[in-house]
């Protein structure tokens, strides 16, 4: 099988992790990066001897690029993925997969028409710790899960300028947190429960006056299979003031699983066999492993010509629940996900 040429468009944020992940996966090589700003692109390309471009059209025109990593602002994901598909390129799209259901539908259509793979990169799934949690659940270690709490890592506190660079042009509310961070929790919970959200209810904390984005958002979820869950995203804290990184707590019919980052152990299970610490490890390097996992997943789907591990149809269901959760905040109602329709539809 010939080597796959990969490119990254959008060279800030987690782009270096994508580049490192590409280098970690056998049979794929970073050949080009693209950004309107030359400096971050140059810095990203240099260690890998990749070409630097500023025009996305030129990138898509290259014959040596088969896979495009779309690491741009959230609202550009769908359009750029569709452009990639129309140019015959596969695409790994940063989360959120898109901003609207219509956009995902267009992505699905574009991928099918071009015969290419498009996958949303949900790195949380591939973090070794959380992959192990999912493996433990699938193996039946704690029986059928009934309740789960997923809380997001508290990212470093952002300055007003950093926030401004990522603002949605939305009314003041929790949309940014839900769409940008919440998709990790929602995707992971859907995988964990093997079910999609049926109902969502959202509350948030508004935070600083200068910040349009709400600093904390919590979504109470009932899944189609009856399980209940709490998804939390949080950027309240100032530097040094937040111990809560990423918590995963699951209560099952035969035990309880606790895999928060704050513990010195990676994962604990309580079952009839007692307290156990299966697969304890330190979390250093988890981000690199996570991104490597998602790159491996789409590369495998390309090589084996099969549906990606996270199909777009799956991400669409996740997005629908997220959009319903955004709506819930504004209506103050428990929203039925199946009844959610886009305002423009």
């Amino acid at each position: 099988m010939p080597e796959l040429g990969a490119a990254i468009v959008g060279c800030r944020a987690v782009a270096p992790l994508h580049a490192k992940a590409i280098a970690n996966v056998e049979g794929v090589r970073l050949v080009a990066v693209c950004d309107r700003d030359e400096e971050p692109a140059r810095q990203l390309a240099e260690p890998y001897a990749a070409d630097v471009l500023s025009d996305y059209g030129q990138l898509l025109a290259r014959d040596d690029v088969q896979l495009v990593h779309i690491v741009t602002h959230d609202e550009l994901h769908a359009a750029m993925a569709i452009q990639a598909a129309e140019a015959g390129k596969h695409a790994l799209v940063e989360k959120p997969v898109a901003m609207t259901l219509d956009e995902v539908d267009a992505m699905i259509d574009a991928a099918e028409a071009a015969g290419v793979k498009i996958m949303c990169g949900q790195s949380r799934r591939y973090k070794p710790k959380f992959a192990a949690v999912a493996d433990a659940i699938r193996a039946g270690r704690i029986g059928k899960p009934a309740f789960a709490r997923m809380s997001s890592p508290a990212s470093p506190f952002w300055t007003p300028e950093q926030w401004a660079a990522h603002h949605y042009d939305a009314v003041r509310g929790p949309e940014w947190l839900l769409m940008h961070n919440g998709m990790h929790q929602f995707d992971y919970l859907c995988m964990l429960f093997d079910s999609f959200p049926a109902e969502v209810y959202t509350v948030s904390y508004p935070g600083q006056d200068w910040l349009r984005v709400h600093e904390y958002v919590a979504v109470s979820i009932r899944f189609e299979n009856g399980a209940i869950a709490l998804s939390e995203d949080n950027r309240i804290m100032q530097p040094g003031g937040h111990p809560f990184h990423c918590d995963c707590y699951v209560v099952g019919a035969e035990g309880t699983l606790d895999a928060g980052d704050r513990q010195t152990f990676a994962m604990a299970t309580y079952t009839e066999r007692g307290l156990d610490f299966p697969g304890a490890w330190v979390s250093a390097g988890e981000a690199e492993a996570a991104f490597t996992g998602e790159v491996q997943a789409i590369v495998d789907s390309i090589r084996e010509d099969r549906e990606p591990e996270i199909p777009l149809a799956f991400s669409r269901q996740v997005l629908r629940a997220l959009r319903a959760a955004c709506k819930s905040f504004h209506t103050g109602q428990n929203e039925i996900v199946a009844e959610y329709v886009e305002a423009s539809s």
Binding site: Y205, S220, L230, I236, P239, G240, A253
Partner: protein, 360 residues
């Protein structure tokens, strides 16, 4: 100072061997009688033995006991349906009250009973010491109130207890029947009070998802073994409270966790940390928290129960409010009632406040 004269009323619900006995054994208390509520015969043999153990009379009618002995304070361990009549009877006689949770079976009954308490000006406290009287929780609440973490904004608490199905049945006349209430009423007060005291705010809205995931007899009775409650508070804080009875026998007794996040730091209390609370911030340079030792957070442990009893006795002696007062007890009912109504309607419930609201 003369000793407070105390009596117990009913052994039919809750933990009389913790609270009534704790009151009876307090050095500032003279235990004078144990009484029954007519018609509530469950564990009356235990109550009789208890009276015998303390060498005090065992009354079959609590009202007769109240009239004849006029105790200063009573410890009430009755089913919630029977609490209001006893609370009103004691309050009307100027007698202070410790009551098992919840105050009543319905919010309306609780409001009426606690209105009588307010009118009489007696001390009322709720038997939920695990929510406030472990050393880590007392430290956490004190730190939050002192501004150590800035303005509290967000809280999470879970109170999950195993040992099912042992406590999901009640034995009546030798027969096992499903417990009268689900885990919301068993553990909801602990989770709610732990959060409300940390936030220092009053409940505003409740949204809840309940389910009977593990126990068939709970399902048949319409009880929940798990509940996820999403709350907002009057100064804008939000909190999620999870209570439940897990099925495994291996979850070590109770898994309790409280997290409070403020504008300048955060606090965590966790059974997994033993006798510690951890406080991060404000604006610390590292992730290293400072830890404070204290009593292990453990339900019904003698130190926690004694701290609770001592708080109520001191409140009666000094005229100050107990740490868990009537307003707290009523908010517990509002929380429980709100959870039930929310899960039935599928929507959030806004708490209505009357005379018994803030400040009572």
């Amino acid at each position: 100072m003369s000793k407070l004269r105390a009596a117990g009323i009913s052994f039919a619900s809750g933990h009389p061997t913790a609270y009534t006995q704790g009151l009876a054994d307090h050095p500032d208390v003279e235990f004078v009688a144990q009484a029954e509520i007519p018609g509530e015969t469950y564990r009356s043999d235990m109550a009789a033995d208890f009276a015998k153990q303390y060498g005090v009379p065992h009354y079959h009618d609590y009202a007769k006991m109240l009239d004849e002995l006029r105790p200063d304070v009573v410890s009430l361990c009755a089913p919630p349906e029977r609490n209001p009549e006893v609370i009103v009877a004691a309050a009307d006689r100027g007698i202070h009250i410790l009551s098992e949770k919840p105050v009543a079976a319905t919010l309306a009954d609780a409001e009426a009973a606690l209105a009588a308490v307010a009118a009489a000006g007696v001390v009322f406290s709720l038997d939920a010491p695990a929510a406030c009287f472990s050393r880590p929780l007392m430290d956490a609440h004190a730190q939050a109130a002192s501004g150590a973490i800035g303005e509290p904004r967000v809280a999470y608490c879970h109170v999950l207890q195993s040992k099912g199905p042992r406590y999901t049945y009640t034995v009546v006349d030798g027969k096992k029947i499903p417990a009268r209430y689900g885990e919301l009423q068993n553990h909801g007060p602990y989770g709610f009070l732990a959060v409300a005291k940390a936030l220092g705010q009053r409940l505003q809205t409740v949204f809840a998802r309940r389910g009977a995931f593990f126990y068939e007899h709970y399902r048949e009775a319409g009880h929940e073994d798990m509940c996820l409650a999403t709350c907002t508070f009057d100064a804008g804080a939000v909190a999620n409270i999870v209570v439940g009875r897990t099925p495994t026998l291996s979850l070590p007794t109770t898994d309790f966790r409280l997290e409070v996040i403020g504008t300048a730091g955060s606090i965590m209390v966790d059974d997994a940390m033993g006798d510690k609370i951890r406080i991060w911030g404000p604006f610390a340079d590292t992730d290293d928290p400072f830890e404070r030792g204290g009593m292990t957070h453990q339900y019904y442990s003698p130190p926690i129960t004694l701290a609770y009893i001592d708080d109520v006795v001191t409140a009666i002696q000094t005229g100050r409010r107990p740490r868990i007062d009537a307003a707290d007890a009523l908010d517990v009912m509002r929380f429980v009632d709100g959870c039930v109504k929310s899960s039935e309607s599928g929507q959030a419930v806004r708490v209505k406040r009357g005379e018994q609201g803030r400040g009572t």
